[in-house]
């Protein structure tokens, strides 16, 4: 079986980078707001749709999400969530 080759917008397990971020935010913000946050900040800060986010865009996307998370859960929890995401994406 030939392993799936990751494109620039997908992780080795085949999920888009935006999906990974959305799945991490969903338990906290709910599915609608997690999706809305990705759409809002990938469009406004990176100038592209969430599904077009590449591995290279991830640090900028996480930085863009930080102020929103700071407002809704405080800086400590925001930092923890973003650190978990960085760790999850580090090996991709």
């Amino acid at each position: 079986m030939v392993p799936r080759v990751a494109t620039t917008t997908t992780t080795p397990d085949g999920r888009t980078y935006s999906t990974v971020v959305e799945q991490r935010l969903t338990p906290l913000l709910g599915p609608f707001t997690a999706r809305m946050a990705l759409k809002t900040f990938s469009t406004s800060k990176l100038g592209r749709a969430p599904e077009e986010i590449s591995r290279a865009d991830v640090p900028a996307l996480l930085d863009a999400l930080r102020p929103m998370l700071n407002t809704l859960v405080g800086s400590a929890r925001a930092g923890a969530v973003l650190d978990e995401l960085k760790k999850e994406l580090a090996g991709t």
Binding site: T26, P27, L28, L29, G30, P31, F32, T33, A34, M36, A37, T40, F41, P67, M68, L69, N70, T71, L72, V73, G74, S75, A76, R77, A80
Partner: protein, 272 residues
């Protein structure tokens, strides 16, 4: 059992105990007054405890520190207000509160509590937009918001007419001003029910949603409390008994901000 579940059970138990005690003493107005006093103490202390715990969760300068700091200040001042009412219940059973000297400090407490709570609620309702998220309001939401706002304004007009009639002595003036300040703040708070519940709806399925649901429900209960004379009329009970039963909603209305604070703290600290 998680702290979140313990907090929910505590709030439910407080309200259930209050209701059971009112039902048990429904034919005894003096006992019902004592029950309301005890229930008010327990609920307002719980409300203050949870709100202060939430405020202490966030670092200085953070948006939510300001939100919960204001809600906590309002809740603590409500405890002080409860102490004044309690002092009156226990020391002057035959005197109308408006004739009591306690009406002056109560004016100060109520004004400060309402200012803090209303500003805190406004900031909580604005938190979603402040975070940079922007979801256009639907026509259904706008209709609901307009209906609740109209009811709040109607309540305000009816209540202000009652309160502005009694300026014949300094104590009565202070008492009337207390009522008017409270009414104006209630109107502002009730108008914010829909925006707060909308945030909860937008975050449905997420752990944070519970915070906004509970604060919004607290305001809904205050709306029921403010409409109690209208709600009591069609009930098949003596008016005083119906009012005594509806008065119980004040218990969860006071304790819910504390529950919301504990929920927020548990989400932020990652324990829920």
């Amino acid at each position: 059992m998680t702290r979140t579940r313990m907090a929910i059970l505590a709030v439910a138990a407080l309200a259930a105990a209050h209701l059971a005690a009112v039902v048990a003493f429904l034919d005894n107005p003096a006992a019902v007054r004592q029950v309301h006093d005890a229930g008010g103490w327990a609920a307002s202390l719980f409300g203050a405890f949870g709100a202060v715990a939430a405020a202490r969760t966030f670092a200085r300068g953070e948006y939510l520190r300001k939100v919960w700091g204001l809600l906590a200040a309002g809740a603590v001042l409500l405890v002080a207000g409860q102490a004044l009412l309690s002092a009156w219940v226990h020391t002057s059973p035959g005197i109308v509160f408006g004739d009591s000297v306690l009406t002056y400090p109560r004016l100060v407490l109520v004004t400060a509590a309402n200012a803090a709570t209303t500003w805190g609620l406004f900031l909580l309702a604005y938190s979603y937009a402040h975070s940079g998220l922007n979801v256009p309001r639907t026509a259904a939401f706008n209709a609901l918001w307009a209906a609740v706002s109209a009811l709040a304004v109607l309540l305000m007009v009816v209540q202000l007419q009652k309160e502005s009639a009694d300026f014949d002595s300094p104590r009565h003036t202070a008492n009337a001003l207390t009522g008017m300040v409270s009414t104006l703040a209630d109107t502002a708070d009730l108008i914010m029910i829909a925006p707060v519940l909308r945030i909860a709806y937008l975050m449905r399925g997420g752990r944070l949603a519970g915070v906004w649901w509970v604060v919004g429900l607290s305001e809904v209960l205050w709306l029921v409390y403010d409409c109690r004379t209208w709600i009591a009329r069609p009930l098949p009970l003596e008016p005083a008994q119906a009012l005594a039963l509806i008065y119980v909603v004040r218990n969860p209305a006071l304790s819910f901000p504390g529950l919301a604070g504990i929920l927020h703290r548990e989400v932020v600290t990652g324990r829920s």
